[in-house]
């Protein structure tokens, strides 16, 4: 065999390389996986749209006929006249109680556990495990707790089966979620930032206030809003505490109360009385739509605030 000239040797090498790196077979497993992932995403979206479509179509005629009147009327027994004001009031009280009780307490506890507590000590490890467990306790159990503590023991303050008692119960329910998400946000703060604070002579608290909390704010906010949304949507504990579903002409903080999820639960099961234009189920759908809008509003606000904080901390 004749010796190859240098250029022919180069051509041969190029040929081998080309054969080696040229596409031969389709990546079947990869494509199958991609299709599977796409399907999963589409199904998730479909579920969401089906839910929205169902709620909107069910409530459309009632809302277009009654409009704001549906939002401002009290509950009652005539499906043509009832509204959700009594429930909306209770739901707002619950949201406010979570905001002023659970969030400051939860964030404070998280700051203590992350920044001050001795992580390796057995007691603190036990506390953290317990907080995680608390977050997994079913809502009904919190209802029992709230019933005993807030409607019975503390009835001189809460007025018994009241919006305040319901709000406090919901605050306790979401407290572990607030603590856990806040702890995670605080743990994600780079240690260099703390060093920087201490290095210029900031005290531990000054460092937390000026550097750790602002940096952790987006994460804390996300947890906070999730917890409020959860509290607004829960019905089970409120049933145990004793939310009213029949007549409730007056709204008060310490008197009888109701909440939007309770109304949805009640109205869904009631049959349409004769001679009435609308069914209770239509009211239930309309109430659901109002609840969805409230939750959507909270989420949107949280996303907006989180993005603002994140932009600030990345220096834009």
């Amino acid at each position: 065999m004749a010796l190859m000239t240098p250029s022919r040797a180069g051509e041969a090498a190029a040929e081998t390389v080309r054969a080696g790196i040229t596409k031969k077979d389709r990546d079947v497993a990869g494509i199958a996986m991609l299709i599977g992932l796409l399907l999963a995403m589409i199904l998730t979206l479909l579920a969401l749209f089906a839910l929205l479509a169902q709620v909107v179509s069910e409530s459309a005629s009632l809302l277009s006929a009654r409009g704001l009147d549906f939002v401002t009327s009290p509950i009652g027994s005539d499906p043509d006249k009832i509204g959700i004001w009594s429930g909306l009031f209770g739901t707002i009280v619950i949201g406010v109680m979570v905001l002023v009780v659970a969030i400051p307490m939860g964030v404070a506890a998280a700051i203590y556990l992350e920044e001050y507590a001795h992580h390796e000590s057995r007691l603190n490890r036990m506390i953290m495990v317990n907080i995680r467990n608390l977050a997994g306790v079913p809502a009904v159990i919190y209802g029992v707790l709230g019933f005993i503590i807030f409607t019975q023991w503390l009835s001189p303050i809460t007025g018994g089966k009241s919006a305040i008692a319901a709000g406090l119960t919901m605050a306790v329910l979401v407290l572990p979620i607030v603590v856990i998400t806040s702890m995670e946000a605080i743990r994600a703060v780079p240690s260099g930032l703390r060093d920087a604070g201490y290095g210029v002579g900031a005290s531990r608290w000054e460092t937390i206030r000026d550097h750790v909390l602002p940096y952790a704010a987006p994460g804390i906010l996300t947890g906070t809003v999730l917890s409020i949304a959860r509290a607004l949507g829960e019905a089970a504990p409120l049933i145990i505490i004793g939310a009213v579903t029949g007549l409730l002409p007056e709204t008060s903080l310490t008197g009888f109360f109701s909440a939007v999820p309770i109304l949805i639960f009640q109205w869904t099961g009631r049959s349409q009385p004769p001679n009435s234009e609308f069914a209770f189920t239509e009211s239930a759908a309309a109430a659901g739509l109002v609840l969805l809008i409230i939750v959507f509003f909270f989420n949107a606000a949280a996303i907006y605030l989180r993005n603002r904080f994140e932009r600030k901390r990345s220096g834009q």
Partner: protein, 297 residues
């Protein structure tokens, strides 16, 4: 003595320190007399323990005013751990404790009566990775003085300008003080951290491998800056870079590790502490010689 007590006095008197950053007359290496310069730190048999584990021991050395002292040695030899005792940064590690004494101008820093926050205001620190606050350049520098209670805008403006000039950063950033410190390059960020540290007029600046994340040009600028700063501050620098120690420091402490007899964990020990030229040309200990000549693992 008067020199140092004056400088500490700035903090008590507020931030009227117009004469503190006078154009420096640079003494050449070795010119600062070892006999007259005051002892700033006097370490006596200092050990740092994490739980039962002794991370570093035998820290006995004196650090003098207006000198740059370098800590060199292989990884894990406890140089950074020991440096962080100088301003009680180890306080934030719950299991860490010290044995022996760290005397700062004769005062035991680990005396229970000592307020560690006050200590850190006098003994500033620059870290391995540039860590500006996610704030504007101005607010980064003004943060320390604000903590000390300086509120007047004109006074803050003055401190910010002087500190940035002191860190050789002013000319590069004077037109964008309102922009985030995170938008600067790595070397600029580290000089911003130096400006932030000197804004509270510390007595000492501790530097923990300040150039390890920087390129050679940025490193060169920081080294020039250190040479200028040493007329006003006592500087202690931890470095992995032996050439850097040889270039910038007046005295060098060499640390190494030794295997514990009872476990396989290594404890850092101070081997030798002397004038930098002596450490690099004629060290007394064989281990030092092996390390500085590159024969060490």
């Amino acid at each position: 003595m008067s020199n140092v007590s004056d400088r500490i006095g700035f903090l008590e008197r507020g931030l009227d320190m117009s004469d503190a950053l006078k154009p420096a007359v640079h003494p050449t290496a070795g010119e600062t007399s070892e006999r007259t310069a005051e002892v700033v730190f006097d370490l006596q048999q200092l050990s740092v323990l994490y739980g039962d584990f002794r991370a570093v021991r035998d820290g006995t050395l004196q650090i003098r005013d207006q000198q740059i002292t370098a800590f060199i040695g292989p990884s894990g030899c406890g140089k950074t751990t020991m440096l962080r005792c100088f301003n009680r940064m180890n306080d934030f590690i719950p299991t860490a404790r010290v044995e022996g004494k760290v005397l700062y101008h004769g005062v035991d820093l680990y005396d229970p009566a000592v307020n560690s926050t006050e200590v850190r205001r006098r003994i500033g620190m620059v870290f391995q990775k540039p860590n500006p606050f996610p704030k504007s350049i101005y607010d980064n520098v003004a943060y320390g003085p604000r903590l000390l209670g300086v509120k007047k805008r004109s006074q803050l403006d003055e401190v910010v300008e002087r500190s940035l000039q002191g860190a050789a950063l002013w000319d590069e950033v004077k037109d964008r003080l309102k922009e985030s410190g995170l938008g600067l390059s790595g070397g600029q960020q580290q000089r911003l951290c130096i400006a932030r540290a000197i804004a509270v007029e510390p007595d000492v600046i501790l530097m923990d491998e300040p150039c390890s994340a920087l390129d050679p040009i940025a490193t060169g600028r920081i080294e020039e800056l250190m040479a200028e700063m040493k007329t006003d501050y006592t500087i202690v620098i931890v470095t992995h870079n032996m050439q850097q120690a040889a270039r910038v420091s007046d005295r060098t402490a060499f640390f190494t590790t030794e295997i514990n007899p009872d476990s396989d964990r290594r404890t850092g020990i101070l081997v030798e502490y002397d004038r930098t030229d002596k450490i690099f040309s004629n060290p007394a200990d064989q281990r030092t010689e092996d390390y500085v000549t590159g024969r060490f693992g």
